[in-house]
Symmetry: C2
Subunit: 418 residues, 2 copies
């Protein structure tokens, strides 16, 4: 029988809506990568009777059940007890886990209580997973063709344990390893890219291609399954090369995380410094650049010039330019980019001016009209963008897309530097 | 029998981990507010057989089932068909829905396809809910003590339909209305506030108090159930007054959304303008202020001075100050706040300088040390903060908390203005 899995999350706080169930997504993605089918997610509260019933239902339709939550020290943490009982197993003190818990609690300067050690009571004969980010160990039970994988509830404990211990276990179980690369696109929509690659994606079985939409961007994930990591890489290579050839203008990097990280890394490599002058984005570009550790090596000045007065006073935009063309114009964008270069002494000045809404739009300059400019010794350009999409959170969306376009233009300019 | 509900989400994209199931959280919160018990969440894919089985399980343990997804125009959208069959109902064309769909598609400049009208086929005799943010209507079926509530999958369609149509339906069903207010705290942790209010919260039944943690903040939700909205308000009033008396220093507003909105509104009311000078937060405060529509009335200048050179050149921080005390110091924070006031002509200058990490920390000035300063004619202050928490995403966390503290200090200063 082919493996199929169900996720069973245990936690009253999920049923009350106090937290979003992000664990299910993380586990689902991982299982999809390893090629294990997943047909059901279930959530129940911290109630042993309902957990028992849900467990029976889950094993009646799937041979792998992955639980999250209910492994903690309090009286209502009953996952291990309930699952051990289901399998007819006793709980016993697992000494290494006891030591992990004691040393973790000492490291965090907390007090060891009797309850804490309850977390080291594990079903007899199970495979135990250390928790490097908390106290409750995880466990895997295999019995009579059924597999229960128990993970802690807090995402920062669950995530690493799943990635570092469950995925290798599932890979070992299948005798295959999975490797993947993420190719980052900017300037093409998910549906357009999917449309262009549709036939190819349908025909491919190993490696596979899967697009993921991020606001204003697309990531294309190439995943290969093979007996060894090297073999997986060899399988992916020609596909990646082909994509780079076809989409050279639209790909901004591989496994690079996001646009701002690509900008910071490339600027560091080329030894250029970037400065920003922002109107409608109000600091969003500067904020995204400085999100990246080490950005101080290529960024030292940003100006948020939200009014015309500040555009003139701080950036030296000419009064006549603002009078003749308005604050939202190619000319103002140009002078803002020049101005912030002059003020900061940076190699590249990036500017943004536009109408983020919801108010302030006119028939000539509607909400969503944004100019993004760049100034450097080797490249000057101003883009006119129309970013209104009728989305619910239009202002945030326009500001985010404008900042992404500015980062993309900065990256292009950095790459043009000889 | 007391109502209890199960959420049944239909969507293969959830099982593949392509999207997070935020719908379940929104619905869970709403039901908790209306006082309907919720013991199970289930997710199945776009598969009629598994949907049918999940539906049977759900109705075997709960009398209300709320579905999301599977109402769209494509061949694998089968929620209505499966649920109608379960109840023994036929589908029939619902003319008003047909008109909604046609006019919505025209409004969005899309092409009407035959499939689109499939969305207007509704189970006979059900209560139909208009979709104001998409094409697929929702429906409620009540039969033999069972209630099925079908909602569309996209969160921006589901959310408003649930809030505007399902909640009133459930209120009507229970003969009670629910009203709530959110009291926003800054400067106290969730566990501390919960600890202080624990006994009171335990004893209260109507209204109830529930704390929600947001990064660095707490919201306390007061909820009352009554026959009329007015009666609910009357029940909440003394509780709210008491909280305001006890926590006057820590409450920054009621139903105000977030810190930046409170700052923008209060600055507008008082007629003062704010300017920002940011080092380690790199534009985060300016970005958060300009997130708020209408912020241009009280904000027009932000400077991101990431290097010492820019602190001197643009903000006029004295060279000796940087030499003697360093960039991360009370003195530099003070001069940055003064400097940005001078440059911008604003009434209040806010400054931030600190070590966001992961690198750049020293024993004397470790990662997480941040100075937040304010300068105005009527109030001057610099706060020293220690924001390292050993979190996974430490840099983002320090930057966010630093920007929240700056907003809180800005708000305090605005309130001190006569």
């Amino acid at each position: 029988m082919k493996d199929s899995a169900e996720i069973l999350c245990i936690g009253t706080e999920i049923l009350l809506g106090n937290i979003v169930n992000t664990n299910s997504q993380v586990i689902s993605k991982g299982l999809a990568d390893v090629g294990i089918d997943m047909y059901h997610h279930t959530v129940v509260g911290d109630n042993p009777q309902r957990l028992k019933e849900a467990l029976e239902i889950a094993f009646s339709r799937n041979n792998i059940v992955i639980t999250t939550g209910g492994l903690g020290p309090t009286y209502d943490d009953l996952t291990k007890e309930t699952i051990a009982k289901y399998f007819g197993l006793e709980l016993e003190m697992y000494e290494p886990a006891k030591e992990w818990i004691i040393s973790y609690i000492q490291k965090m300067h907390r007090v060891l209580t009797e309850n804490s050690l309850k977390q080291a009571m594990m079903p007899k004969g199970c495979y135990i997973m250390e928790n490097r980010n908390g106290t409750a160990p995880g466990a895997i039970i295999e019995k009579e063709g059924k597999t229960a994988i128990m993970l802690p509830g807090p995402p920062k404990e669950m995530g690493p344990m799943f990635q570092d211990q469950v995925i290798p276990y599932l890979e070992k179980r299948s005798g295959r390893v999975l490797r993947s690369h993420c190719i980052h696109f900017f300037g093409i929509g998910e549906s357009q890219l999917e449309h262009q690659l549709h036939e190819q994606m349908e025909q491919m079985t190993n490696p596979t291609l899967a697009p993921y939409a991020k606001e204003g961007e697309v990531m294309l994930r190439v995943t290969a399954s093979a007996a060894t990591p090297e073999e997986a890489e060899t399988l992916m290579e020609p596909v990646i090369q082909q994509l780079y050839q076809r989409y050279s203008d639209l790909i901004y990097g591989m496994d690079v995380g996001d646009l701002q990280t690509a900008v910071v890394k490339m600027a560091q490599q080329k030894g250029v410094r970037v400065a920003t002058a922002e109107s409608c984005t109000g600091g969003y570009v500067a904020k995204r650049i400085t999100d990246v550790p080490g950005s101080s090596a290529m960024f030292d000045c940003g100006v948020v010039s939200y009014s015309n007065q500040i555009k003139e006073r701080v950036l030296g935009v000419r009064h006549e330019t603002l009078e003749s063309f308005g604050a939202v114009s190619t000319q103002t964008a140009q002078e803002m980019a020049q101005g912030v270069r002059r003020v900061s002494g940076a190699d590249i000045g990036i500017s943004i001016t536009g109408v983020a809404g919801p108010d302030g739009g006119t028939p000539e300059k509607p909400v969503g009209l944004v100019y993004v400019g760049v100034d450097s010794d080797w490249h000057r350009e101003v883009l006119e963008l129309h970013l209104a999409r009728n989305f619910q959170n239009e202002r945030e969306n326009i500001r985010y897309l404008a900042s992404s376009n500015a980062l993309s233009l900065a990256l292009k300019t950095i790459l043009l530097k000889k």
